[in-house]
Structures are given as structure tokens and as C-alpha cells.
């Protein structure tokens, strides 16, 4: 699971949806992998405003990745004078699209439930007593 996707996920339990603690989910026993992927500057520029930056920072920290600036880069920092990608854009691509959790768990800080990630695919199915 790419770190960008993690930024769009909360606990699946309806009971947790109203709690701020259910987002972001916290990686546990996470095996990280860097997977090279062609950069898509247009996508990063489009999606960055939709990212919850504070959550991205805290997860980055939890995973021991280099620390991120306090606020998300603005659109002017994502393109150089010729409209090409800046180093900041390339770094965002590496962080959001190339850093993946191959296996591990995702913990909801509100209810303690853990979702398993296996071969990069997370399982959010709940037993019936938690639905």
C-alpha cells in the first residue's frame, strides 16, 4: 500500500468515524519497500491539495522517514520556470507513490482494531460484532 493511499484511509467501523483518533491509521510491524514508478507530475499537483498534510507528516515520522515541512508545498513549488518538475515534486513522488507498506498492520487509535496488509493489499473486512 502506497503512503498516499494511507492518507485516504480511516478505521472502517462506523462507530469510529466520528472520532478524530481513527485517522490516520498507524502502521505497525510495517515492512516498507521502495518501488520505482514513473512520475506523474499532473497527478501529484492535482492530488496534493486533497492530502491531509499533518497526517502525512505524523505517519512519515512514525515510519522513521525524513521529516516533512510544517505545511504542504504550494503549487508554485511544484513546477520550475519551464513547467518541469522541481526537486520537491520528485521528493513528493518518492514519498507518496514509491514508498509502500508491503506487509504489516494498520492500527485504529480509537478502538484498537488492527487491519492486516499482505503483499501490499490491506484487508478492511470486519467481523460481524464490529459492524
Amino acid at each position: 500500500m502506497k503512503l498516499l493511499t494511507l492518507n485516504f484511509l480511516t478505521c472502517a467501523r462506523k462507530a469510529c468515524k466520528t472520532s478524530a483518533a481513527s485517522f490516520p491509521l498507524h502502521p505497525r510491524e510495517a515492512e516498507l519497500e521502495q518501488v520505482e514508478l514513473d512520475m506523474n507530475p499532473q497527478f501529484i499537483r492535482n492530488v496534493l491539495p486533497r492530502v491531509e498534510w499533518e497526517a502525512m507528516r505524523s505517519i512519515s515520522q512514525e515510519l522513521g522517514l525524513p521529516s516533512l515541512p510544517d505545511t504542504a508545498p504550494g503549487p508554485e513549488e511544484l513546477a520550475d520556470a519551464e513547467g518541469g518538475p522541481t526537486q520537491i515534486l520528485k521528493d513528493l513522488h518518492t514519498l507518496l507513490m514509491e514508498t509502500t507498506i508491503a506487509s504489516g498492520k494498520l492500527l485504529c487509535a480509537n478502538c484498537g482494531h488492527e487491519y492486516a496488509i499482505k503483499e501490499g493489499i490491506a484487508n478492511f473486512l470486519l467481523p460481524s460484532h464490529l459492524v
Partner: protein, 420 residues
């Protein structure tokens, strides 16, 4: 735009030749687009029309190397007759070289015979004629590239590649956008959206469908077509218990929710009392934490799911974002399903695909901005019609019109619809 029933031709007005070419390059169902130089029911009428409307263009094209092609829809012409027809266009007064390979003026004579199936097959004369300058061919040539017969990983629920591409077009999939399929199965819709450059996420309640096996799974389909860079992620989830963070961050949602008796629409949960609390295995281990645990699921009303999808789309799509959803036109008791509605979603198109014994619709909705929502619109919840479910009500209606035939035969459910 003018369309003629039963004719494959339609006349459209566009801003420029470049716009026409760009439009067709994305089209999956069209084959070509031509600058209309004239049309008519006979060659004489065609000539009069061409000379009256296109003399300015003909002057412009006068010296260009040119060629003619005669194309007949549901008709044929002998080689001799084809030559005669082409030669009859001398009135165009073209002075350029005839060039089959390097024509800059690519003229097409289109003959529409519009086959009438009540009459013998070959009507000798076309019903309508067009003279056009070829501007661009369509995106249709990618359909065989994505043909399911050539795809490494498919299942019985995989959407036909042509229809998946049409759906991606209606969802306005373009580079930079983020599109989600909550019933991704083997990834047919995400692949089609990625073909047009959108970044895609998929999920499904069936984990086996996503994981597949080594070298044959949703991700391997993206690898097969070189679309890995557009594959964001897939995960396993139930739409009615979604882990997706609520907010307006999706550009599009495309789906073909499961219906029909055999596939059986399921959601998480169980009515069994013993499953309403945490279950322990005989050795004390917690059942749901084991790696091979499969959570119980229960049947769910298809119509309720359609409403859930609309609620989800209204909550998650950005303004102008598109929801494209397939649904059958009738349920498994042959009772027509109403097109679902939501005050925040405006229908932009309804396309129908008819099979022998049933048909299905592709619905496209546009998420309108909050300021445009009619606050007084009352959303009719299907469960609230006269205190009974609409299904119950409809079954009753059907039995009523059938004259209350034998209970056993009227309870027989129709065959599984999820084919194609």
C-alpha cells in the same frame, strides 16, 4: 447535432477540424469524423448541396493532392459502379494530383442504405449520401488491445473491454484525475480509466479477486498493458463499511455492482446472535485475528446498495465529478428497477445495452455543487414506501398482474444476470 434512427451517421457542429480530431481520438463507439461538404438523397441532390454550401472550401482545397474512397453502409457497389460514382464528382473541379498514399484532401463518399429488415437484403440504391473530407479516426482501435480474450486475468464478471472504455470516457478519465471502483473484481474499469491516463484505486469485498494468484491478479493486468504508474492501490473492503476517509476528493467513481441470484450481493455482517460478540476458537485464540479468518457476510438488497452508492458518490466526489454505474433494467423477478436519484447528483446520460432476454443501463451522474442543490427535494428512500419495501410491493404488483398464478412458479427467480 442531428441523429437519424437506425443510421450510423450523425451530423455535428464543432468549433474546428482540430476539435473534431481531438473528439474522435477519444471515441470508442464512432469510427471516423469528416468535414461535411454536402449530403442528399440522390447524387444530383448531393451535387447541388455540395456546390451551394462548400464552394469556399472547394476553392481552398483545389490544388491539394487528393483521393476518393467510397464507403457503403449496408450496401455494396461493383468495382465498375464505384469508378462511375467517383468520376461523377468532376464538378468539384479539383486540380491537384490524384494520390492514394499522400492525399492531403482525403474525400469520402458515404452511402447509407439503412437496411430495412422487412425487405430483401440488398436494396439497390442508398437512402442517403454524404460527401466528406476525412479529419480523423477514432480511438476504437484500442478496443482489441484490451480484449478480455487476451487479458491474463479475468473472471465471469469482467466487463467487456469496449464497454469498460466507454464507461471510462463517460467518467471523464484523463491524466491527473483520481478514479475509484468499489467493485473492482479483476480491475476492468480501473484498467480502462488508466488507459486514458487517470490514476486509479479499486476495492472489492472479495479479496481473492484482487489477490488472484502469482502473475495473475489485478496488478498484473496493469503490468500487461504498461499502466503500472497509474495503479495507486487495491484493498479489500465492503462499500457499506468503507475505510475511505469521507471528503470530496475523488474525481470519479466507476462501477458495475453485482446483482442476480448467482453472484449474490453481500455485505459484512451476520444476523446470528452468537456472532454479535467476539468469537474465540477452542484454544482461546481470537477468531477474527487469525490470518485465515473469513468474516461472515449477509445478503443485501440491490436497490439499497444503489442508494448507498449514490450517497457515497455525493459525499466523495468533487464538484462536477462523475459517477458511472451499471445496473440491470429489471430485477430477477422481471420487475423494472427505477433509476436511482439523489439531490446532489444530476443524471447526465442513460445508455442502454439490450441482450436477448434482459437489458442493462449505464448511468452517468454529475456531482453538482452544493449551491445548486435543491434543498427541498425529498429523497424517496426505497424502504419507506407505504411501510413495505418496494420489492415486496413490486412482487405483489407482479403477482397481481399475473392473476396470482401458482405460488411456486411465481416465486421462481430468473437466471443469473451478470454475464457479458
Amino acid at each position: 447535432m442531428q441523429r437519424f434512427l437506425k443510421s450510423p451517421f450523425c451530423i455535428v457542429r464543432l468549433d474546428s477540424a482540430a476539435a473534431a480530431k481531438a473528439l474522435l481520438s477519444r471515441c470508442i463507439l464512432a469510427t471516423g469524423i469528416y468535414e461535411l461538404l454536402g449530403h442528399g438523397d440522390t447524387y444530383d441532390a448531393l451535387r447541388d448541396n455540395v456546390l451551394s454550401r462548400s464552394s469556399r472550401q472547394l476553392l481552398q482545397y483545389k490544388k491539394l493532392p487528393f483521393r476518393f474512397t467510397l464507403d457503403c453502409f449496408q450496401g455494396t457497389r461493383s468495382t465498375k459502379k464505384q469508378r462511375e460514382i467517383i468520376e461523377s464528382f468532376g464538378y468539384l473541379d479539383l486540380e491537384g494530383q490524384i494520390s492514394m498514399k499522400n492525399a492531403e484532401l482525403d474525400l469520402w463518399i458515404l452511402e447509407d442504405y439503412s437496411l430495412d429488415t422487412t425487405k430483401p437484403k440488398h436494396s439497390s440504391e442508398p437512402k442517403h449520401l454524404y460527401l466528406g473530407r476525412f479529419l480523423g479516426s477514432s480511438g476504437r482501435k484500442v478496443v482489441p488491445v484490451y480484449d478480455l480474450k487476451r487479458r491474463k486475468y479475468i473472471s465471469t464478471t469482467s466487463m467487456d473491454s469496449e464497454l469498460a472504455l466507454v464507461t471510462a470516457n463517460l467518467a471523464l478519465a484523463v491524466p491527473g484525475k483520481l478514479i475509484y471502483d468499489p467493485f473492482t473484481g479483476t480491475g476492468s474499469f480501473p484498467v480502462a480509466c488508466a488507459h486514458f491516463g487517470a490514476t486509479v484505486i479499486g476495492s472489492d469485498i472479495d479479496g481473492r479477486s484482487i489477490r488472484g494468484s502469482k502473475g495473475r491478479n489485478v496488478f498484473s493486468n496493469f503490468q500487461q498493458y504498461g499502466l503500472e504508474a497509474l495503479y495507486l492501490d487495491s484493498f479489500i473492503s465492503d462499500l457499506t463499511n468503507t475505510p475511505l476517509r469521507k471528503g470530496r476528493w475523488l474525481d470519479g467513481i466507476v462501477c458495475d455492482p453485482p446483482y442476480g441470484v448467482r453472484e449474490g450481493l453481500k455485505v459484512l455482517g451476520s444476523p446470528k446472535p452468537e456472532l454479535q460478540k467476539e468469537v474465540r476458537l477452542k484454544d482461546g485464540r481470537i477468531a477474527h485475528l487469525q490470518s485465515d479468518y473469513i468474516p461472515p457476510k449477509r445478503a443485501y438488497s440491490f436497490e439499497a446498495m444503489l442508494d448507498d452508492i449514490l450517497d457515497f458518490a455525493a459525499a466523495m466526489l468533487i464538484d462536477q465529478g462523475r459517477l458511472c454505474m451499471w445496473m440491470p433494467t429489471a430485477n430477477d423477478e422481471d420487475v423494472e428497477l427505477a433509476i436511482p436519484a439523489h439531490p446532489a447528483l444530476e443524471i447526465t446520460s442513460v445508455c442502454v445495452q439490450s441482450f436477448n432476454k434482459w437489458s442493462r443501463r449505464l448511468l452517468t451522474y454529475r456531482r453538482i455543487s452544493d449551491s445548486d442543490i435543491d434543498q427541498t427535494a425529498v429523497r424517496r428512500k426505497r424502504e419507506q414506501i407505504n411501510g413495505a419495501t418496494a420489492d415486496e410491493l413490486n412482487s405483489f404488483r407482479r403477482k397481481y398482474f399475473q392473476g396470482f398464478k401458482d405460488a411456486a412458479s411465481s416465486d421462481d427467480v430468473g437466471g443469473q444476470h451478470n454475464s457479458g
